[in-house]
């Protein structure tokens, strides 16, 4: 049976009816049209569906939408502002850290969460901070350069 939940996504409050077996990834993508969050496996192995849930990055394919009642969710769509791309997004464009782009939204969310918590990560900490986000295109080199360029 559907249940109404209230969840804050990218600073907007959504009151929405969800099925118990619906994942957060599917809610975002198919009900709310927030298709920036990608699905590359649906079993928590690739990180393409990474969102920030109550301050921590998670695989949204392994979170039930119904569990996010009262939660705060940040997705890739919430990063850019009217002024333009978020600096991390700029860095990904600038450094050539994006190829096919399918891992990029999740990768950028992990990068943001990492830098939110640790403004000056070492290279090893950057590698750890994206270790659940698989990228088949770039070899991670330019991704790490992009994140490194955003240290303070």
């Amino acid at each position: 049976m559907k249940k109404i939940i209230s969840v804050t996504i990218n600073n907007e409050i959504y009151e929405i009816a969800v099925e118990p077996n619906q994942t957060l990834a599917d809610l975002l993508r198919y009900d709310l049209g927030l298709t920036g969050t990608k699905k590359g496996c649906d079993t928590g192995d690739c990180g393409a569906c990474t969102v920030i849930l109550d301050g921590d990055v998670v695989n949204s394919c392994l979170v039930l939408a119904i569990q996010t009642d009262g939660s705060v969710v940040d997705t890739i769509e919430g990063l850019a502002t009217e002024e333009g791309l978020h600096p991390i997004q700029e860095a990904f464009v600038e450094k050539g850290a994006i190829q096919c782009g399918y891992c990029s939204p999740g990768m950028i969310m992990s990068a943001k969460n990492l830098l939110d918590k640790n403004t000056n990560p070492t290279e090893q900490e950057i590698r750890e901070g994206i270790s659940g986000n698989l990228c088949r295109c770039t070899g991670y080199q330019k991704i790490i350069e992009a994140i490194d360029s955003q240290k303070s």
Partner: protein, 293 residues
């Protein structure tokens, strides 16, 4: 991939959760981090009618030190465990286990209670729980009982938890001064691994003469459950800690304690050989720690 249909319950207290457990018994499953259960449901490996989520029950989220014991709530995540100063200082092998599990995304969801209830022989925190001689706290609506973690695992994916019970946490006695512990896991790549072999060792020495007062070794991925290396521990009992005795203990662990099988992740022969290597290495690291090095 679609999840099967189920009813979802979100109890706010342990008591509420236990009432639901009592009502639905084998038709209900506890949902903690969901990093295993939701995958198994999507792959149609398990079925469920009722999911009882316990991650919002405050008392299951605490790490506390009281009267010489550390208690860890069942829903403490791997990330929280790894970040805890208390765990890092007093139970370093558990921190290592938590840090080794999966990757940064999985660690933000996966819980220590879930890791135990999933009862995988390769589980990353289970060897540490074994060497710290943790007690598993199980509650039903009648009350609580404690089970030594070495009795908790019954087989792959199986524990001694009853249908009406909830694993609420773990109690671990704070290791004394002069002790040390270490954990090493071995897989094919350097992140997001399912272990081929994993070992934790704990050692307690008399600083006066380096005699081993207490030693516990846990071996992962080499039996239907994570196991204690009983023979290896016997080798160490009362001896002076040095490389020679560690080598003998490692040989005992390799030859006598582990009972690995061949599967697609590795052969029994390799696992057995690695038990020797990792036992020796974890003992050496544990000793260095015990000696304050």
């Amino acid at each position: 991939m679609l999840l099967p249909r189920f009813d979802f319950h979100d109890p706010a207290s342990v008591q509420e959760a236990l009432d639901l457990k009592k009502t639905y018994r084998e038709n209900a499953r506890i949902l903690a981090g969901g990093t295993d259960l939701l995958v198994h449901l999507k792959k149609d490996l398990v079925s469920v009618e009722h999911l009882i989520s316990v991650t919002k029950i405050d008392e299951l989220l605490k790490i506390e030190e009281k009267g010489g014991d550390i208690t860890i709530g069942a829903c403490v995540t791997m990330a929280s465990l790894a970040a805890s100063g208390l765990i890092g200082e007093k139970l370093p092998a558990l921190k290592q286990g938590a840090q080794s599990l999966g990757n940064h995304l999985i660690r933000n969801k996966a819980t220590i209670g879930g890791n135990a209830c999933n009862a995988s022989p390769a589980g990353d925190t289970l060897c540490a729980l074994l060497i710290y001689d943790a007690a598993v706290i199980l509650q039903n609506s009648e009350g609580a009982r404690e089970v030594p973690v070495s009795d908790f695992f019954v087989g792959p994916g199986k524990s001694c938890i009853n249908d009406d019970e909830l694993l609420t946490g773990f109690r671990i006695a704070v290791p004394p001064a002069g002790s040390g512990a270490d954990y090493i896991q071995l897989g094919k790549r350097k992140s997001s691994e399912i272990n081929v072999v994993n070992v934790a060792s704990y050692i307690e020495i008399d600083p006066a003469n380096q005699n081993i007062l207490n030693a516990r070794i846990a071996l992962g991925s080499v039996a239907p459950t994570p196991i204690r290396g009983a023979k290896a521990e016997q080798v160490l009992a009362g001896k002076t800690a040095d490389d020679t005795v560690f080598f003998e203990a490692a040989e005992a662990a390799r030859r006598d304690d582990c009972k690995p099988i061949d599967d697609f992740r590795g052969t029994a022969g390799y696992r057995q050989a690695m038990i020797g290597v990792l036992t020796r290495r974890t003992l050496a690291a544990a000793l260095a720690q015990a000696q304050g090095k």
